[in-house]
């Protein structure tokens, strides 16, 4: 079972960063800034969720036993982004078995991390923190 740390801050040593700022996802988003206003935020969040899925499947297929870090939890993103009719449920169903632990940050940490990764703020950071806290409570996977 893959261990995933949900934390918008820096990646701890020994943990794989699935959304590194020099990685394919972030670099491609920076390149798409010219057309940013034509892509709904809901699509930005769905692509993030899809990237999470792909990295998780790749990690599992390789038998990689290292923990991984993602900056945001998709379900909390959809809530904070006022997104409806999304693919979140289907994407979550395709994930390999994983165990998520959550660091619940301050809203300004979330906003800063989102700006670094996406170049925009595609969700409400205050609402994200609330949704993440609820998800962490439900999963029983909080990180001090």
């Amino acid at each position: 079972m893959i261990s995933v740390l949900v934390d918008p801050r820096a990646t701890p040593p020994g943990v794989v960063d699935w959304f590194a700022l020099e990685g394919e996802f972030a670099v491609a988003w920076r390149a798409s800034q010219a057309a940013r206003a034509r892509v709904p935020f809901a699509i930005v969040l769905e692509l993030y969720d899809y990237e999470f899925l792909e990295r998780a499947r790749e990690h599992a297929a390789r038998g990689d036993e290292r923990a991984a870090r993602i900056p945001f939890w998709p379900a909390a993103l959809y809530v904070a982004g006022d997104v409806h009719g999304d693919a979140g449920e289907a994407l979550a169903a395709e994930r390999p078995a994983l165990r998520a632990s959550f660091f619940v940050p301050e809203a300004d940490e979330v906003a800063a991390a989102a700006e670094r990764l996406f170049g925009v703020l595609p969700f409400d950071p205050v609402a994200y923190v609330g949704a993440l806290a609820r998800a962490a409570g439900a999963a029983g996977g909080g990180v001090p």
Partner: protein
């Protein structure tokens, strides 16, 4: 700075049923539509600008299309409550549904809100309604009960047997609830999604009996909604300024060869690369449609679309594929733009445009996502009949999800439409050497115009 207050323009319910549009009409119904272009520019300039939209699905969609233009999206346009305002048309309809337990009712304007009262389906009520049509709407809730697959109630069956009096009285069906993955702005206009469901057929029969002229529009909406489109949001977004910029012109010439699966394009790509390399031109071949973990993952997602309730995943599939090509471009292709004379692409962005429109009947944001790709200097389409392509595909070991007659026909139609005026179309039935010679000659002319080697 005073906040800007916007009313939400009329949505699909009013597009389909003008009776609701007349009921909802305000003094300045187009004020929001007129304001959007300027507002988009203002949001991009000022963090201090605040925009107030009404609660409910239309307000949420309005805020969602404005936020990508804003310097401070969530300060300028805070999150919007999903429940419609009590004085809204949506709230009035939902209120009537609850108050009268699914029975028909009459809805009329009452100041800023609406008044409603029960009005059973009788011929006497229909006759009395003829003169009241202009100031009120007779609403027929068509409700899908959770888990129910039975036909409509008996009164609906009698309506279907003789719909004339009720159609003349302006009876308007209102479908509820929305299919699970449909955008909330489709409120009231979508019948149950599965056309094989007896309930879905009878719901459609109600609309056909009362307003046969609206059936095609309703089916179009249902098709778009099923594929994940929010037409209301798309219509609003089209009014906002397009601040996109074209990708800069690279040093390398861009050549693309497109075609449906099995058209022989990969063979032409290889032959062209060899011919140019033999002339001393620095050539690199690229494929931006990757295999491996990406392809396996997106295919797993695509399989879920076998369920009619998950057709919205086609949008996700197309967007994921377009973005993967962008990832491939920025990581693997971009470094070659300044170090090679010619980059040859085995498929280029047109394949995404054609596949998206072919599958979904609308562009699922692929054009916006693929803006960083530079315009091609030469594009070729190897056109073959679908039967020929399928025969060639059959010779391979594995077929993809889209390698079937219907999708390949749609894909081919879209490519041919895109090719008009922008691509050189070559008949795949011509001898390979003939097409190859044409491709090489055209690429050489293009390089000569560019002053390239």
């Amino acid at each position: 700075m005073a906040p800007v207050t916007l009313a939400a323009p009329a949505g699909p319910l009013c597009w389909l049923h003008p009776e609701f549009a007349r009921l909802e009409e305000r003094q300045a119904p187009d004020a929001t539509l007129d304001a959007l272009p300027h507002l988009g520019h203002e949001l991009a300039r000022s963090r201090a600008l605040r925009v107030v939209v009404p609660p409910g699905p239309r307000g949420q969609a309005l805020a969602a299309v404005l936020r990508p233009h804003a310097l401070d999206p969530w300060a300028s346009l805070p999150r919007v409550a999903p429940e419609p305002a009590p004085t809204s048309l949506e709230a009035a309809l939902l209120g009537g549904l609850a108050e009268f337990a699914g029975e028909p009712f009459e809805l009329a304007r009452n100041g800023d809100g609406y008044a409603r009262h029960r009005l059973p389906l009788t011929r006497a009520n229909a006759a009395a309604r003829i003169t009241a049509c202009a100031t009120s709407v007779w609403v027929l809730p068509v409700v899908r009960q959770a888990g129910a697959h039975a036909l409509l109630p008996r009164e609906h069956a009698s309506l279907l047997a003789e719909p004339g009096p009720f159609a003349r009285a302006g009876l308007v069906p209102f479908f509820h609830p929305l299919p699970r993955h449909a955008a909330p702005t489709w409120f009231g206009v979508l019948p149950a999604p599965d056309p094989h469901d007896p309930l879905a057929r009878s719901q459609r029969a109600v609309l056909a009996a009362l307003h046969p002229d609206r059936v095609l529009e309703c089916e179009s909406f249902a098709s778009l909604a099923a594929s994940g489109a929010d037409l209301y949001a798309m219509a609003l977004a089209s009014l906002l300024p397009d601040t996109s910029t074209a990708a800069p012109k690279p040093r390398a010439a861009i050549v693309g060869i497109c075609g449906i699966d099995g058209s022989g394009k990969s063979s032409h790509v290889r032959a062209l690369a060899e011919a140019l390399t033999a002339r001393g031109i620095r050539v690199r071949v690229h494929k931006v449609y990757r295999h491996g973990v990406f392809h396996e993952t997106v295919t797993a997602l695509t399989r879920r679309t076998q369920d009619p309730e998950h057709l919205h995943l086609w949008r996700t599939e197309r967007v994921a594929k377009a973005f993967d090509s962008l990832k491939c471009f920025t990581s693997a292709v971009a470094p070659d733009l300044d170090t090679h004379d010619v980059l040859i692409f085995d498929r280029y962005v047109q394949t995404h445009h054609a596949a998206g429109a072919g599958r979904c009947h609308w562009d699922p944001f692929t054009r916006a996502l693929l803006r960083p790709f530079p315009a091609a200097d030469a594009m070729f389409l190897i056109d073959v009949p679908v039967e020929t392509a399928l025969a060639r595909i059959g010779e391979r070991s594995q077929r993809t999800v889209d390698e079937n007659p219907y999708m390949l026909t749609r894909f081919r139609e879209m490519l041919l439409r895109l090719a008009a005026g922008t691509m050189t179309v070559l008949a795949g039935s011509e001898p390979f050497a003939t097409n190859h010679a044409r491709i090489v000659a055209e690429v050489e002319r293009m390089l000569a115009r560019r002053g390239s080697p």
